[in-house]
């Protein structure tokens, strides 16, 4: 049974989620990938205001395809998350509580998640057409010059994601694989 998750996501709610939980996320999330993360962290370093409310924010690592007429957004599946490892700890320290992506994360990110109470969700990579149906509204709010990499505010409804790493550092990539291999014995 999937757990309903509301975004923005409070630290308390983020801490309740456990690795392996199937979730349906509804509410407001933001898109950002490599170039936008770099700019956000530069603003933090300069002590300047960010173009989004980072407190309790869930950031989706995605660069969508352009929307056709009548669509909120084009295909919009997750990009590989480790490229954001250099930036995520800074944003988590600023109040970010959720990340949606795919693939492994570095120890520095997991340490920040444990310290501040944040969660890493996985969405199915390569399923951009399917996932776009859960995105009801999309609006560019910063860095329009970056094209697909601009920051967008998304309104999502029942967006399917699985908790890969929880705020205690449990990791589905390790436990899922081990459980499968043990089931063969």
């Amino acid at each position: 049974m999937a757990i309903k998750v509301t975004a923005p996501l409070s630290r308390e709610e983020a801490r309740k989620l456990r690795s392996g939980d199937s979730c349906l996320i509804s509410g407001v999330i933001y898109t950002a990938r490599d170039a936008a993360h770099k700019r956000l962290c530069e603003l933090v370093a300069q002590g300047k205001e960010l173009p989004l409310d980072i407190k309790d924010a869930v950031i989706y690592f995605v660069g969508p395809t352009p929307a056709k007429e009548g669509q909120a957004i084009g295909s919009a599946g997750p990009t590989t998350s480790y490229r954001m490892d250099a930036y995520s700890p800074t944003l988590i320290a600023q109040g970010q509580t959720g990340m949606i992506g795919k693939g492994k994360r570095g120890p520095e990110v997991v340490a920040a998640m444990k310290e501040h109470g944040a969660v890493y969700f996985g969405a199915i990579g390569g399923c951009g057409a399917l996932l776009s149906k859960c995105i009801k509204k999309a609006e560019v709010i910063a860095y329009e010059d970056l094209g697909a990499e601009a920051i967008r505010r998304l309104e999502v409804e029942d967006f399917p994601a699985v908790v890969i790493i929880d705020s205690q550092g449990n990791n589905l990539y390790e436990t899922g694989r081990t459980a499968y291999l043990e089931s063969l014995q």
Binding site: P66, G77, Y82, K102, G128, R177, Y180, S183
Partner: protein
């Protein structure tokens, strides 16, 4: 007698192939994913494979990209030596990419300089590979390549003494290190032999072959089967959540090399392995 082909025709075909390749998964991939789903013993893995099938059906219906990473356009041209193209082939291909990516609502994912990193805005230039072949035809293959999987690729200059076992160990190591990152189930392209660059080119070329077609060389066909079986005992599974289906196919190309060398390149592709061909 030279056969004349108008450059505008190349543009038109490339534009169409960019859109078709990105929105409609080839039949061999569909069949392979369906068979893998039927034989996947791990329920979470099966569930993901079902979602993957649902996704490419939605992409079909809506004529929408299967994946948001509509890739850098890799364009393979087999140019018959009796063909003469009126105009610049390179310009014609890039104009086709420009049009296809605009008209097909595809993502523009190319930066003009690897360090200054400004998006070119139209997904050009394409990565163009030319092969000069006998005859008077022009064969065009468009293969959009996503970088989630490209980034997980590796090359190694093995010693001849490392031999077959060294090659096998390297292939498995690359897949193991990639883990969940390249969107498994993956397709593994391998190039063995040649030079440093030729090995990588063969690995990329290997990804153009259907996943249900084994190497024509029985030795390498056996090696492809053995490597697929081995990779599918790793337990990484669909999306890395565990399961048997880590790879859908291992395609190996090989070629002559130097007495001192044994280059091996492993080019990883995701479950959205796309390519579309047309012959002019």
């Amino acid at each position: 007698m030279m056969r004349e082909i108008d450059a505008a025709r190349i543009t038109e075909v490339v534009a169409r192939l960019c859109v078709e390749a990105n929105c409609h998964l080839p039949q061999d991939m569909r069949d392979c994913i369906r068979h893998s789903c039927e034989s996947e013993p791990w329920a979470p893995g099966r569930e993901i494979l079902e979602r993957i099938m649902e996704n490419y059906h939605i992409a079909d219906e809506r004529n929408q990209p299967i994946c948001q990473d509509t890739g850098v356009a890799c364009v393979f041209l087999e140019v018959g030596q009796d063909v003469h193209v009126n105009g610049s082939i390179e310009d014609a291909v890039n104009e086709g990419v420009r049009r296809g990516y605009a008209e097909g609502y595809l993502r523009k994912s190319v930066v003009g300089d690897p360090l200054n990193r400004v998006n070119t805005g139209d997904n050009t230039p394409a990565m163009i590979y030319y092969d000069l072949v006998p005859g008077d035809q022009l064969k065009i293959t468009v293969a959009p390549k996503g970088f989630g999987s490209e980034n997980m690729s590796q090359i190694k200059m093995l010693k001849p003494s490392d031999g077959l076992q060294g090659v096998k160990d390297f292939i498995v190591k690359v897949v193991e290190e990639a883990g969940p990152n390249p969107c498994p189930p993956i397709v593994v392209g391998v190039g063995i032999g040649g030079t440093f660059d030729k090995a990588a080119y063969m690995a990329k070329k290997a990804l153009m072959r259907s996943v249900d077609q084994r190497s024509e060389d029985p030795f390498y066909a056996d090696l492809e089967r053995e490597m697929l079986d081995k990779i599918n005992t790793l337990g990484i599974g669909p999306q890395g959540f565990g399961g048997r289906t880590t790879a859908l196919a291992v395609n190996i190309e090989h070629g002559p090399t130097h007495i001192a060398g044994l280059p091996v390149a492993v080019n990883i592709n995701c479950h959205v392995t796309r390519h579309k061909t047309e012959v002019l």
